[in-house]
């Protein structure tokens, strides 16, 4: 596995990233996830996915904008 040790999420650039899973065959890849935007990526993916500088701008999101994204379905209010 090439050296890859991310410190931020490729999509929202938060530092809240964690190892989600290691490949069952040891040392082939590591699956990462971001606890802020819930993006998931694998260390073996192309740099356009794993590198925050190369991750496509159109898919980037700022953490503060997450609360503005649409909700589907709307949360059902309790019946009065």
């Amino acid at each position: 596995m090439p050296d890859y040790s991310p410190s931020i999420c490729p999509r929202c650039e938060s530092e809240t990233i964690k190892v989600r899973f290691e490949s069952p065959v040891k040392g082939v890849w590591t699956l990462y996830g971001c606890d802020t935007c819930l993006f998931t990526w694998r260390s073996s993916e192309p740099a356009t996915i794993t590198d925050p500088k190369l991750y496509p701008k159109k898919f980037k999101i700022k953490p503060q904008h997450l609360r503005d994204i649409p909700i589907m379905p709307a949360v059902a209010a309790p019946e009065k």
């Binding site: 069952p24 065959v25 819930l38 998931t40 694998r42 073996s44 997450l66 909700i71 379905p73 059902a76």
Partner: protein, 470 residues
């Protein structure tokens, strides 16, 4: 049917040269998505299913994709000869669809998926070879599952639907439940009481189950009963302790619940529209129990810029429209609603009177499915095969005078995922009447149309037999 589950169907595909095993090592990304795309685009309408058996990092993976992804595969799924043309598949599908009331459900006590049970330390990452299909997808998805739920207040109302699920953690998923979906109605009722909604998720299903789970049935119509009508055999199910019926022939069965009051970021995801739907806050699901067969087969549907596997699945959209339209107008010959789940619909019909084609077009718009789809409706004569696009293009290019034969109806409803809608969910709709003008319509000169020799139908099997002997 000659098959009883996904495994035995894959064997039939294999026996008919419609299953390709990829045994060389591949990367989860981008190889699987790239191979699936190449099969759909490069191998076209006779593409095989793909079985990946050596995915780097996984131990003994079995990943099947493009199982429904060609006309031979669809024909074999219906138990027909693999060279059955699409229109004949449609007519047979429609005939069986109308046997829905005769469909029966067979309760069984045991199923092959009970071989392995996991209740502690569930790890969805370990259980199946997840991968990112399209580069823009926001994560790993399960996209060909049947999700089973019941209305919490009226328990008889059970739904089996195909909804995309994003894998978020070892036992966590998020689900796209569009408000119009049956499961969204069930969840809304539970969430109002601040209660979780019990669900079951089955993966690696009998191919008929996938067809009915993605079919536009009426609310309350039982998917298993429809599966029985389509397979012309009782549909075997097993009832879980939580009361949900799940297919007997699945590879995996998850039990869990949708959490009330919780929404979390999900997406983007490459949808059947050939466009990514954006990042949205969607429902959160906790998995509490997993059953699976030994060495389970994980099935994923190939989806991307059409045509892909999912576009063949949309053969299931044609019979409901056909039956509903034929009730109004017996002259209807066939309905092709394959394109983007019926965002474009082609209807062939005999013409009763001048203006009839436009009336048929309006009728399509007012079907239940037409409310969310049917942005463009093309109506052709009964002798034009709506599944044969060169014939349809001929009809549009010669039978249409835009001055007389096009109608735009403003601001109708459409699914919000339609990227052309504005605002999302609203669109103008277009009817193109490409039937031959009939009296008292007068425009054009159509008295000299060439017709196929009627004897051609006898020559086709003769030519096919000669070709086989070569």
């Amino acid at each position: 049917m000659a098959y009883k589950d996904l495994r035995s169907f894959l064997q039939i595909l294999d026996d008919n040269g419609q299953l390709l095993r990829i045994t060389e090592p591949v990367w989860p990304e981008p190889d699987i998505g790239a191979a699936a795309s190449a099969a759909n685009k490069g191998l076209g309408e006779t593409a095989p299913a793909l079985m990946f058996e050596n995915i780097r990092g996984f131990q003994k993976p079995k990943l099947a994709t493009n199982v429904h992804g060609s006309w031979p595969n669809m024909a074999l799924m219906l138990g027909l000869p693999k060279d059955t043309p699409p229109k004949e598949q449609f007519l047979e599908f429609s005939r069986r669809y109308q046997n829905f009331p005769k469909g029966t459900i067979e309760e069984r006590q045991t199923a092959p998926w009970q071989e392995v049970l996991i209740e502690d330390n569930i790890n969805l990452y370990q259980l199946m070879p997840h991968f990112r299909l399209n580069a823009g997808d926001g994560g790993l998805y399960i996209n060909k599952a049947a999700v089973v739920s019941r209305h919490p207040d009226s328990f008889d109302e059970q739904n089996v639907g195909m909804y995309r699920l994003q894998v978020k953690g070892p036992n966590r998923l998020s689900g796209q439940f569009v408000p119009e979906h049956d499961i969204a109605l069930h969840f809304k009722a539970a969430e109002r009481e601040n209660k979780p909604l019990p669900i079951a998720i089955t993966v690696g299903n009998d191919p008929i189950i996938s067809i009915v789970a993605a079919m536009p049935l009426l609310y309350g119509q039982n998917e298993y009963q429809m599966a029985s009508a389509l397979s012309e055999e009782p549909c075997p199910v097993v009832t879980l302790k939580n009361g949900l019926q799940v297919p007997w022939g699945s590879e995996y069965v998850f039990e869990g619940h949708v959490l009330p009051g919780v929404r979390e970021p999900d997406g983007p995801y490459g949808e059947f529209t050939g466009h990514l739907s954006g990042l949205r806050n969607m429902t959160s699901i906790e998995i509490t129990k997993v059953w699976h067969r030994k060495e389970p087969i994980y099935e994923y549907t190939s989806i991307g810029m059409p045509w892909t596997e999912i576009d063949y699945l949309f053969l299931n959209t044609c019979p409901p429209l056909y039956v509903q339209l034929k009730e109004k107008f017996p002259e209807i010959e066939a309905v092709n609603a394959l394109y983007t789940h019926g965002l474009l619909v082609i209807v062939s019909t005999k013409v009763r009177v001048g203006g009839f084609g436009k009336a048929v077009g309006m009728a399509v718009l007012t079907t239940p499915h037409g409310l969310g789809y049917a942005k463009v409706v093309i109506v052709v004569d009964e002798f034009v095969d709506p599944f044969n696009l060169p014939q349809v293009m001929w009809a549009i290019s010669t039978k249409v005078n835009p001055k007389y034969d096009t109608v735009i109806i403003p601001e109708l409803s459409v699914l919000a995922l339609d990227p052309g809608s504005e605002p999302p969910g609203i669109t103008h709709k277009l009817i193109i009447d490409a039937t031959t003008p009939a009296p008292p319509e007068k425009h054009g000169e159509y008295s000299m149309q060439v017709m196929d020799p009627p004897e051609a139908k006898d020559w086709l099997p003769k030519l096919q037999a000669l070709l086989k002997r070569k």
